[in-house]
């Protein structure tokens, strides 16, 4: 079981209490459907199926990704915090590979 390449996450280091802020995530993954032919052969299925975002251990967003999600899954979403928080990101694919990212966001 190997790990996925490090994802790229854009998240502010500091926000105001209650302020809505944006998070952008990008992870390299082929998202092969297993339906595609290349030189007469089927390219084996390889799908990133899950992204989970937690704030101080509490679930914020969970994504189940299917064939229709583009290669190198990219997501943008919005959080707000009332105190300084630890944000944890986890990605998992069907082969059991995983990537993690964590960020501390300070509330001024």
């Amino acid at each position: 079981m190997s790990n996925l390449n490090a994802p790229r996450v854009r998240i502010p280091r500091q926000v105001r209490a209650g302020e809505t802020f944006e998070i952008r995530t990008l992870i390299e993954h082929p998202m092969e459907t297993g339906l595609r032919q290349e030189a007469g052969r089927t390219v084996p299925r390889d799908i990133l199926t899950r992204m989970v975002v937690r704030v101080n251990g509490e679930l914020a967003l969970e994504a189940a990704l299917h064939n229709g999600t583009a290669a190198n899954p990219f997501h943008v979403f919005y959080l707000k915090l009332d105190r300084s928080s630890d944000i944890e990101f986890t990605w998992t694919d069907e082969r059991g590979r995983e990537a993690r990212h964590s960020a501390r966001v300070l509330v001024a």
Binding site: T33, A60, E62, A63, A64, N67, G68, T69, P73, H75
Partner: protein, 153 residues
């Protein structure tokens, strides 16, 4: 009786039956996709009645590259403990498989908005279903034309 059974069992008869079944089992691809879409909608929301509207879908009307089509879903709802969106389901009407993504949301999010990038094999309709914490479901859809299909197959 034996005579009839033996007639039904002749290779020619079986061949005819197999052919007839194949005709029934292989409808137009579009019909198969409609069935798959209906199944995916049922899997996402069961038999919950849906109300149209209350969701903003941002997509390009024409996607040059079907392999990377930006999509923004913004549900018109607060995201508070009392009233929030619990799930957003994104489905495609004419991809080889209808599933794009299912998002589970909580009030930890600031608003019921998710942006992603999807792939589309051909011109088709994107269907988005949003479930609220009171169990109700809203729906929106958008037609997207595709210049070069995304390589799903």
């Amino acid at each position: 009786m034996i005579y009839i059974r033996s007639m039904l069992d002749t290779p020619a008869r079986r061949g005819f039956l197999t052919g007839a079944l194949a005709l029934i089992a292989t409808p137009w691809p579009a019909l198969a996709q409609d069935d798959a879409l209906a199944g995916a909608i049922r899997a996402a929301i069961g038999d919950t009645p849906v109300q149209d509207g209350g969701i903003t879908l941002r997509t390009p009307p024409v996607a040059e590259n079907g392999g990377q089509v930006p999509l923004t879903v913004l549900v018109d709802s607060p995201q508070t403990a009392e009233r929030h969106v619990t799930a957003i389901h994104v489905l495609a009407s004419r991809n080889p498989t209808p599933g794009i993504a299912d998002f589970r949301l909580t009030p930890v999010m600031a608003r019921a908005e998710v942006q992603t990038r999807i792939r589309l094999a051909e011109e088709q309709r994107i269907i988005v279903l949003a479930r609220f914490n009171d169990g109700t479901v809203r729906r929106a859809s958008a037609e997207i034309r595709v210049t070069t299909g995304g390589c799903l197959t």
